[in-house]
């Protein structure tokens, strides 16, 4: 494979598209599949067969974003925002849909695309999502794929690739927000001959499915990012650690690896150079803690997935004690664009300290739940009220939980805050991996805190005492408070215990487990105190008002 071959494939794909009258895209990502898009695809294919094809291409594609309206079908455009988009399509609709092609659209199924949900997004990581067939490497190549890798290994030095990544200001999307360029440079500098690249696809935060969507919709993009990372840091072996609960993503990744290897884009002697880059898939058994980098590496090595104290950091001593670069799926999916269009281009998106875009999974009490990609720095209000379409059923916004079990709840007063790493942190929450759960006035913040504590308690690996024995006590206290059986001294104990678990736990799981409690205590303390009063004196729940009322 060389640049010419890529151009040939692109031409061939374009020519094939030209010869078609219509292209109908059916979302075959996990969430649409779960509401029957597989049958819709089959129904459309049957229609095509019955009509002897007549120039209609039926194409399975990845996530189009508005998962709450799935199954989604788009017609005749390579951008969902400008396409004729159909929502809630069932197999019974496929005949009408097929026969409407080139004619009047089927109004009853139409999904409006002139709404902020589509207009306000800016896609980098998801640029091919919902457009290309994730199981066809040629589709990815035709969309511009593997150009960055090809150019990098044939025309750029490792330092040049590194420089672009540093210049981009990209920060890790796995939760910590550590500068990717700095991490890459540390691994690149290590003198050892054997190094590894790991893609962390263990995504386990409740409510989060960004990484899954990327892998299901555009797996080659992640592979290309990994290969670029391998080139930049000098690693020839890589692992993707992905949870077994993502069978579709696993399958598509494996298909993608096979296709790329066959074309000489991965494996031995990539892109007609002397370089090798081999990628292996490793399945995790669904322990949240295995997403923590040191536990993840222990798991790949075949040991019990438990964290160890850092330093030494993986960049210095990682997999099999070799320097290891470990990055999140979304982080790596940004790389082909950064190398292709330049670090400066990437830096022009977002804010000074949080560059680029971020993919969020919108969920909870919100009209449009699903996957969105927006520039960093966008105000929370825009995400919730415009893109998200606001709170349904005429209810009031109460809080948004960001950052999953390590994050916190932000009340209304933060709605105008720009969403970026540092502002979220200063407000007592975090970006995390990008889960956003919207809550309305009917949610009890004590219940929310209890929910996340239960998650951490169940997912604690049990190695260190404050997390193992502390989260279970914190859960017990929250349960007691939620049930209205606690006394003021229980609240005091809760706060003291939060401090101990946060300050002394061994890994990020325990260190951040108290965050949902602390942030709800900070902004909704009255809800805890309310629960401490005797039942007869308590206000009915619906009348609880938010702080700024």
């Amino acid at each position: 494979m060389n640049l010419e071959d890529l151009a040939d494939i692109t031409e061939a794909v374009a020519a094939a598209a030209e010869s078609r009258r219509h292209c109908v895209r059916v979302c075959m990502a996990a969430s649409c599949q779960s509401c029957g898009s597989g049958e819709v695809l089959e129904g459309l294919q049957t229609q095509a067969k019955q009509n002897a094809d007549d120039g209609v291409c039926i194409k399975p594609v990845g996530c189009m974003g508005l998962c709450s309206a799935g199954p989604l079908v788009s017609v005749d455009s390579d951008q969902p925002a400008t396409a004729l988009l159909y929502q809630d399509v069932t197999v019974d609709d496929t005949e009408d849909l097929y026969h409407s092609l080139g004619d009047q659209p089927v109004e009853r199924l139409r999904c409006r695309t002139d709404v902020p949900f589509f207009a306000r997004q800016q896609k980098v990581v998801l640029e091919n999502s919902g457009i290309i067939d994730p199981e066809q490497i040629d589709d990815y190549i035709a969309a511009g794929g593997y150009r960055s890798l090809m150019r990098a290994v044939t025309e750029m030095s490792r330092e040049e690739v590194l420089r672009e990544v540093k210049e981009s200001g990209l920060r890790g999307r796995g939760g910590g927000g550590y500068p990717a360029g700095l991490k890459w440079a540390t691994v690149a500098m290590a003198p050892e001959p054997h190094k590894y690249v790991i893609c962390n696809a263990d995504e386990g935060d409740p409510g989060a499915f960004m990484d899954r969507a990327v892998l299901e919709s555009d797996p080659h993009r992640v592979l290309e990012g990994m290969a670029l990372a391998g080139y930049a840091v000098g690693a020839e072996h890589a692992y993707i650690y992905i949870r077994a609960e993502y069978p579709l993503a696993v399958e598509r990744l494996k298909t993608a690896i096979k296709q790329a290897t066959k074309k000489g884009l991965l494996g031995r002697r990539i892109c007609e150079t002397a370089l090798s880059f081999e990628v292996e898939v490793r399945l995790g058994a669904g322990a949240f803690v295995c997403g923590e980098e040191t536990a993840l590496m222990a798991s790949i090595e075949g040991r019990r997935g438990q964290p160890r104290p850092r330093p030494p950091y993986p960049a210095e001593e990682g997999l099999w004690k070799c320097p290891t670069l470990i990055n999140n799926v979304e982080t790596l999916a940004n790389i082909p664009a950064i190398v292709g269009k330049g670090g400066a281009w990437f830096k022009s998106i977002g804010t000074e300290n949080s560059t680029g875009t971020k993919v969020f999974a919108l969920a909870g009490r919100i009209a449009n739940s699903g996957l969105i990609e927006v520039p960093m720095g966008i105000p929370l209000r825009e995400i919730v009220h415009e893109i998200g379409g606001g709170i349904p059923d005429g209810r009031r916004f109460k809080a948004v939980q960001t950052g999953g079990p390590s994050g916190g709840c932000l009340p209304e007063q933060f709605l105008d805050m720009p969403v970026e790493y540092d502002t979220l942190r200063s407000a007592g929450s975090i970006m995390g991996s990008g889960g956003m759960i919207v809550m309305d006035e009917t949610s009890s913040m004590v219940d929310v805190a209890r929910y996340f504590m239960e998650f951490c308690m169940d997912e604690s690996c049990g190695k260190c005492v404050p997390c193992r024995a502390g989260t279970v006590q914190l859960y017990g206290l929250l349960d007691k408070i939620a049930d209205g059986e606690a006394t003021p001294s229980d609240l005091e104990l809760l706060e003291e215990l939060c401090d101990v678990v946060q300050a002394t736990s061994l890994c990020g799981l325990g260190q951040t487990a108290p965050n949902p409690v602390l942030s709800t205590l900070r902004y909704f303390r009255h809800e805890y105190e309310e629960k401490l009063r005797p039942e007869s004196e308590r206000m009915p729940r619906m009348q609880i008002v938010t702080l700024d009322d």
Binding site: A287, S460, C461, G462, C464, R468, Q473, G476, T504
Partner: protein, 247 residues
């Protein structure tokens, strides 16, 4: 990899660093952990999962210390010294943390000392006394664990286990049998013998008794000992570890 001849291959150079622990100036090798340096200089830092001669585990979190310029406390057993470090081992905050960690341990399983064969010779008990943990504020979980008496010589009482994995490590790293391991997660973690089979049926156990000697509590004991009789001797571990290294 081929090694250069011995004469031109001296032991790797280890730099010496100087640092301050609780206002004492101390010198150490840069590969030493803060806990080792403190011990060598007669400064006591409470610890439970650490045992000289075994690999560092970093799990009990009792050895947390503060380092000037660090935003969070760190575990002394797993943190190496660097030049100029200023370490505090006994601030009010650290004392509070240690006390709470011990309370959590006491509430987690059954640690009623009066009926324990290790009473008076128990590291957990000593730590409670040392750290001023005289009562437990969090509710006892009252979980009931099993006791396995199937081994001819020893007994394991999971109700008294603190999951420090000293038994796991000594059996694996010193005896080389790897009879012990950990099963489950979170609060359901438990040490097990072989594939969670009765210890007495174990094919791998050599009955050497090392695990019993390193267990800090009354979880692993010799059979036939009455309350207060079980004394432990874990001082052989560093010696054996040293001898191993020399071989």
């Amino acid at each position: 990899m081929t090694h250069p001849p011995a004469a031109t291959n001296p032991a790797p150079k280890v730099r010496v660093v100087t640092l301050k622990i609780d206002d004492h100036d101390v010198g150490a090798r840069e590969t030493d952990s803060i806990l080792e340096i403190a011990q060598a200089n007669g400064i006591r830092i409470p610890s439970l999962c650490y045992l000289d001669g075994l690999s560092t585990w970093g799990a009990c979190r009792l050895c947390m210390v503060e380092i000037e310029g660090f935003s969070k406390p760190v575990s002394a057993c797993s943190t190496t010294a660097t030049e100029g470090m200023k370490i505090t081992t006994n601030s009010a905050r650290l004392k509070r943390y240690r006390r709470m960690i011990l309370e959590l341990l006491f509430a987690e399983r059954n640690h009623v000392c009066s009926v324990c064969v290790s009473n008076g010779h128990c590291e957990l008990q000593d730590l409670a006394a040392e750290c001023g943990m005289d009562h437990v504020r969090v509710p006892y979980r009252n979980a009931t664990y099993t006791i396995d008496s199937s081994h001819d010589l020893f007994r394991v009482d999971h109700n008294r286990c603190v999951v420090c994995t000293r038994c796991v490590r000594v059996c694996d790293e010193i005896e080389g049998a790897h009879t012990w391991d950990v099963m489950g997660r979170g609060v359901n973690c438990q040490v097990i013998t072989d594939l969670n089979q009765p210890w007495g049926d174990s094919q791998s156990c050599t009955s050497c008794g090392k695990c019993v000697q390193v267990c800090p509590t009354g979880a692993l004991v010799k059979k036939g000992t009455a309350a207060g009789e079980m004394e432990k001797h874990d001082d052989f571990v560093p010696y054996l570890a040293q001898m191993r290294k020399r071989q």
